[in-house]
Symmetry: none
Subunit: 126 residues, 4 copies
DNA sequence: GTGGTCTAGACCACA
DNA sequence: GTGGTCTAGACCACG
């Protein structure tokens, strides 16, 4: 199963679903054009309410990962573009990481090594 | 003022206070051993509820940034160590960034350039 | 092809078909009296359900754009009149645009310039 | 009451709420910084479910009309900017109006007069 | 008290 | 069958 949930955690379920799908794309488990289960089907599969899945799909659509076709349900977008909104999202995370690192005296080289390993880990999984 | 708040945003205020203090440390505005205002004082200064500041201080203490002494109040920890918990927090952020980047087809070199600029930006501010 | 569809969008397909035909008339690609494909033929051509095309044609007929003859099939109406119903439809759209513009502080001159460019754009295409 | 609903129509209730608020801003009934009722309060007032109002508020927030403060509820944004997204929304409506007008043979001068009257009507109400 | 989240179940539009 | 909308009622995080 592509989607893993932690019902006890603080992260909203719809966010976890969203993140799982994005991670699956990054890992190559889902590719451009691939179909996703219907909202109701996925809800049954992972044991949550339909509306929760619906909200996750809406998020993915807003972020450009998903395109929803009235006829055939949801699919991964054909063209996953690297627009400004995505870049901003990425930089926000990097900035938070850099602040934590720099405040603890981590060297730049160690930081960059960590960055590289995070990226390389995805390449291997793909 | 070290602490900047966005009351209208989605990020909880206590989280923003926590992040502001960590950012101030990274920028050199706060150093190891520096005193922080009392919970009550800071609450008045930035116009938020006392419980909110209290929660932020508790978070900072749990993350090892703050040491709270009943007599002398709150101070930045004398030794800001780079322990495993910190590394895990940093890596989690990097991982999230890498996933968003890789899923959109960003190249590794562009990703690392972005990482470097995030880190360098802090060096300049310090 | 006169009709362009965006299956992933929020606009219903029958509405898109209807709008495409009206746009084609505005652009001069379709003129008064011109024949249209049969419901079945068009459905096959653009790859949608026959009922969907049927609904679009019904809309066009209701709005006075189409006249449907049992023998000769569908044709663009011989006389495209500018009656009150059409004026109301136009004004409704203009009103929505004006509200969005005025609420954001757009000046009247900028608004009218925008109106003019929207109209002129059609003249050039025609 | 600022908000008027048509429960029988095709327009979703949350959309009608959204449009009513925007119209109220355009008419000067609501100004920058004005508070709005809480989600639950407004829901009771107009007799719809809380979630419906919630969705309307989320729309208004996404469109930049509303800013939601954790402490005091919702307020009209302090700065109603005229960004590209708003311009696109306005032009889309103008374009639809122009197409309907041009396809029926309306002259440019009559079209522009209609545009002007739509805008002026708002000025008078304000 | 505020909004945020989740559940359960229903009806409708679309295709 | 799909998603879109709405209702009803509950619990939690935040302040």
């Amino acid at each position: 199963m592509i989607i893993t949930l932690d019902l006890a955690g603080d992260v909203p379920i719809y966010q976890q679903i969203r993140d799982s799908v994005v991670a699956a794309i990054a890992q190559g488990k889902l590719r451009e054009g691939d179909p996703l289960p219907s909202v109701r089907q996925l809800a049954v599969d992972i044991g949550v309410n339909m509306h929760t899945v619906n909200k996750a799909y809406a998020l993915l659509k807003a972020d450009g990962y998903l395109s929803i076709d009235r006829r055939s349900g949801a699919r991964i977008s054909e063209r996953l573009l690297l627009d400004d909104a995505v870049r901003a999202r990425i930089f926000e995370n990097l900035n938070a990481a850099a602040i934590e690192a720099y405040s603890r005296g981590m060297t730049e080289s160690e930081f960059l090594t960590l960055c590289e390993s995070a990226f390389d880990q995805l390449k291997e999984e793909a």
